[in-house]
Symmetry: C2
Subunit: 299 residues, 2 copies
């Protein structure tokens, strides 16, 4: 099995995770949560989203959170921005890395962002162009529903490739491929990676897999074999799936880390600290950790 | 990715699953459960265990269950037997396939079967020898703790290989390699398969993986790549882990089947019927299905 020696874990718990939790977490707890994550060895912590609080009340405190966290050297704190206004607010609050997002299907764009896929891409282009004026900024591009759509079902790699290509050409340093509803399986995930990697360097791709159907780790193993070396995950499996009530969402950081450790892949992340941080936020949410690791207490 | 075209799923829910559920299921429900499983396309359903009811009260009704199920042609209904007495009782109740069991470590044998590893192997030898007098009988051999032990920790492939070799030489038609506490990771699982397959035909090996640390599907993918084509699983993830309270045990049949279907691997098993049977037994146990598939209700 040929695998990368190092993997960069992108922690999405504070943003993608908390955004899908029904309980709203106070800003001070979020700050403490991100500060704890900063001490685990993670190099990237997606911290919040500058979308309208109308749409995502869970993250209405993005400005406060971003400006109050204790930034650690060598750790990046990207924030999600949906449009020009979001970018301006994010920059004002001190963002030094951002992420833009779109989807692989027309219907998902319509339902999720209330615009067509074309409009969604135009918004991304606009944000990227503006953000690039600030030369220091790193821009991540998210594509949702790359292995299946809750509305359109099957998604082909050929639908994803041109979108990924555009985002990369416009200036995204990394393209995160999201299996938003977790329906993918290993060979399908590999075929997608090969298709996208025909146009974009493999090392610029991130796997953002959800565990809704229990396939996330198997899919991650499959794409690691294809040279993917950036993995998005959420501590304690924060998040859930807005398209399947009560089901799992983001793959849990702890479980990914356990597999990577077992495979001898270096991440620089401390398991004990991750588990502790997972317990901290789960306790606050008043429920057991949703990671398998967090649930195991041997003997 | 080179994978087998066909996989045989060995359903262990009625035995390994129910044996680890705290709620005792009435014999009639077990019979109905097994009869439903018989209609799903499964070719092997491990139905019960002829161990002393003193040790496993959950399966004290083994004779009733085995003699009341509606046997379907081309479906096997193996039962676990711990010793000569168990074999006699099993044969009296009409068993036509049996399974013997031992473990990879001394301490697990002591704690689990109250005898040394050597004595445990002697018991297996005795049962196999007796069983083989009945020429028609198929004998499966289980080895526990092949990727880790709750008492001894790390387990090396070199500890597993001689045990597997003995069981096979004595007459087991299939060796089921059990990651009893689910601590294995993909490369370790592959190394084990390669080590055992140096002595026993690869197609005679079964992967019996638990999902305690969330690794089961990734490990299964890894050993499928190594030519393993027999997988043990438990519908609705019945079972849990006796060594980690509240944690997952056997990997769920539904989740394995979803992955295999996605990989284009033929099993002959009907997903809808498996899901229905999983709901039947979960409803009886008064809890939601423990498979991811069973928890997903999209949109």
């Amino acid at each position: 099995m040929r695998l990368p020696r190092n993997v960069k874990l992108v922690e999405v718990g504070p943003r993608d995770g908390l955004q899908n939790e029904s309980r709203i977490v106070p800003a001070e707890i979020k700050v403490e949560f991100i500060n704890q994550l900063s001490e685990t060895g993670l190099k990237v912590i997606e911290s919040t989203s500058f979308v309208s609080p109308k749409w995502i009340p869970q993250l209405a405190d993005s400005e406060f959170v971003l400006s109050h966290i204790k930034r650690k050297k060598n750790v990046q704190y990207p924030v999600l921005v949906p449009n020009k206004q979001g970018l301006e607010n994010a920059l004002k609050a001190g963002a030094t890395e951002i992420a833009v997002f779109t989807a692989a299907t027309e219907t998902f764009c319509q339902k999720n962002t209330n615009c067509s896929l074309e409009e969604s891409l135009n918004r991304c282009a606009e944000v990227i162009l503006l953000a690039k004026k600030n030369k220091k900024i790193n821009i991540r591009g998210y594509i949702s529903c790359v292995l299946g759509c809750p509305y359109e079902g099957e998604v082909k790699a050929s639908q994803v490739v041109p979108i990924a290509e555009k985002l990369f050409k416009w200036g995204c340093h990394e393209i995160s491929l999201g299996d938003t509803i977790g329906v993918g399986t290993p060979i399908k995930a590999q075929l997608l990676i090969d298709a996208v990697a025909a146009k974009i360097p493999r090392r610029k791709l991130a796997a953002h897999f959800h565990d809704t159907y229990g396939q996330a780790l198997a899919n991650l193993l499959a794409v690691l074999e294809k040279g993917v070396a950036v993995i998005d995950s959420s501590v304690s499996g924060l998040g859930g799936c807005p398209y399947a009530k009560g089901a799992s969402g983001n793959v849990a950081t702890e479980d990914v880390l356990y597999m990577l450790n077992g495979l001898g892949i270096e991440t620089g992340v401390d398991m004990e600290k991750i588990l502790k941080t997972g317990r901290f936020i789960s306790d606050f949410l008043n429920r057991p950790p949703r990671s398998k690791l967090g649930q195991v207490k041997m003997l």
